[in-house]
């Protein structure tokens, strides 16, 4: 999508994104591109460009950033942060950018599948508890090596873990995301950062880029 077509601008986008005040130095960005050079996702898909995303947040290109599919591609490896000469914590920026996108109805399809595990974690105090078949397999494996069939997590831990989710509003947030999706109000995301370097065709599976 050519940049000229984007008409919705928001000067306060940076403040809106950084709601937890975790990336207060974003405007120190030198646009040096080391983040992009070290990014494993950018190496595969030139349309994903951390430097460009920082640039667009600072300029306030709301639409382009929030509705982009790219912001859901980050693997959270933090190599961008590791090499940043001014210590911008890009992963925390990405995290908060995703919150804002979700609030605006974008990208729910990437998050709601994880809700299943989140709800289970409230019952077990453990994340990534699989279904019954998986649980049986785990119990078998654990007994096979001579430890308790299930990791010991006390009722107290499970109760407090669940209460923390309820009392901080995380539970309501998860429910709200599910509801928006059930009503079919989710907005579609698109590839918005097109163009860039050539990539190795063997690994390229993306259509239309």
């Amino acid at each position: 999508m050519p940049r000229e077509n984007m008409t919705q601008w928001d000067d306060k986008l940076y403040q809106k994104v950084d709601r937890y005040n975790l990336v207060p130095n974003l405007d120190e960005c030198l646009q040096c591109g080391k983040c992009t050079g070290n990014c494993p996702v950018a190496a595969l898909h030139p349309s994903y460009n951390p430097r460009q995303i920082v640039h667009d947040i600072l300029l306030g290109e709301v639409d382009r950033v929030l509705q982009s599919e790219e912001i859901w591609r980050c693997l959270w490896c933090a190599n961008c942060y590791r090499v940043c000469p001014v210590d911008i914590h890009y992963p925390l920026l990405m995290m908060q950018l995703r919150y804002l996108a979700l609030e605006n109805g974008y990208g729910l399809k990437y998050v709601t599948p994880i809700n299943k595990y989140a709800y289970r974690s409230l019952e077990c105090g453990l994340t990534f508890v699989p279904g019954q078949k998986g649980i049986d397999k785990i119990k078998g494996l654990r007994e096979g090596i001579g430890v308790d069939p299930w990791p010991k997590v006390s009722k107290k831990a499970i109760h407090e873990y669940g209460e923390i989710f309820k009392q901080t509003g995380a539970y309501d947030w998860m429910k709200a995301l599910d509801e928006v999706q059930a009503k079919g109000e989710e907005k579609p995301v698109t590839l918005t950062f097109l163009g860039g370097r050539l990539v190795d065709e063997r690994y390229d599976t993306e259509e239309g880029s």
């Binding site: 937890y20 693997l75 995290m95 508890v129 993306e206």
Partner: protein
């Protein structure tokens, strides 16, 4: 947050000034479920190294990157971290050791945020006070691999089953090396795992994409498994295969899941086949320390470890 005031890379003796006699071991969900042998081996190795391990069933999940980074708000994660660390400091007064880079990065980074933002510290303490917890931040978060490296001499003394001729490659994991301060090696060219392999009698192998992310975090199951995660992993394994890697180790059950469980899926898509078993570093050390094979829990792996055991003369039928 922005000004880096602490040294990024430190020596193990600076990182852990006193060898602890007793540690609190923070259990990992993935480590206890997907690869139960990991937790078992970490305990076995620490015991052999002369360190007492304390665990507590009141410890909950660290709440994980998956929940926060993929769009669940950050407050519960801050509070859960404060709760777990408050539990350790109040009940035991020990430092917290984790065996998962995910738990490590998560606890350490969130601890950093809580310690540097008084408003978040207050929010957490107000919330967890109802169960009698109070977070002060006295329990430092360490990874057990730091202890392994610090106690390299003790590791050498305990090897009874040298892994001679085994070509081992490292996967360090981003959430250890991409830390803000206080880690053991430079993120671009870390070597301390290789030093541990040498101590075990194995041959360390350097491959081109050794610093490449496992692709697990949020991507593997949910966002873009086909067009990001799988080609990304294929790149990593292509370069490992080129160097003739026998086995790869991780220090993170999350990375282990991504690297091990994705291999059959990669093969289905026409990448590879790679057949490079991926195990935890603790499991490899336990193997060299002579732990009974069945207690190491290699049977949880999707990519079989049997060819490696056979190579070492430890396969079925060998003694």
């Amino acid at each position: 947050m922005s000004a880096m005031t602490q040294k990024r890379v430190v020596k193990p003796q600076e990182r852990i000034p006193e060898i602890p006699e007793k540690i609190f071991l923070f259990r990992s969900c993935t480590g206890s479920m997907e690869y139960p042998g990991t937790e078992n081996c970490v305990e076995y190795v620490l015991k052999k190294l002369g360190i007492e391990v304390i665990k507590d069933p009141d410890q909950s999940c660290c709440s994980g990157y998956i929940l926060t980074c993929s769009g669940h708000i950050a407050e519960p994660s801050l509070a859960v971290t404060a709760r777990n660390l408050a539990l350790v400091e109040q009940r035991y007064g020990l430092d917290t050791y984790v065996f998962c880079n995910g738990c490590f990065g998560y606890n350490k980074e969130l601890k950093h945020i809580i310690d540097h933002h008084p408003e978040y510290k207050k929010m957490c303490n107000d919330l967890i006070a109802q169960w009698g917890y109070h977070y002060e931040g006295k329990s430092t978060v360490y990874h057990v691999q730091e202890l392994y490296y610090l106690l390299l001499d003790r590791i050498k003394e305990n090897v009874v089953r040298p892994l001679t001729g085994l070509r081992v490659a490292a996967h360090y994991g981003c959430h250890y090396l991409a830390q803000q301060y206080g880690i053991l090696d430079e993120g671009d060219l870390p070597t301390f795992h290789e030093e541990i392999y040498t101590a075990l009698g194995a041959t360390p192998v350097f491959y081109k994409e050794r610093r490449m992310c496992c692709g697990y975090a949020v991507g593997r199951g949910f966002t873009h498994p086909e067009n990001v995660v799988q080609p990304h992993l294929a790149k990593k394994f292509d370069s490992a295969k080129e160097e003739g890697v026998d086995i790869m180790t991780t220090t993170c059950p999350g990375c282990n899941v991504a690297l091990d469980r994705e291999q059959p899926k990669l093969a289905k898509r026409g990448f590879g086949p790679y057949d490079i078993p991926v195990v935890d570093l603790g499991q490899l050390i336990a193997l060299a320390f002579g732990a009974p094979i069945e207690s190491i829990g290699f049977n949880a792996n999707s990519t079989s470890v049997d060819p490696i055991l056979k190579k070492l003369g430890l396969g079925k039928g060998d003694k």
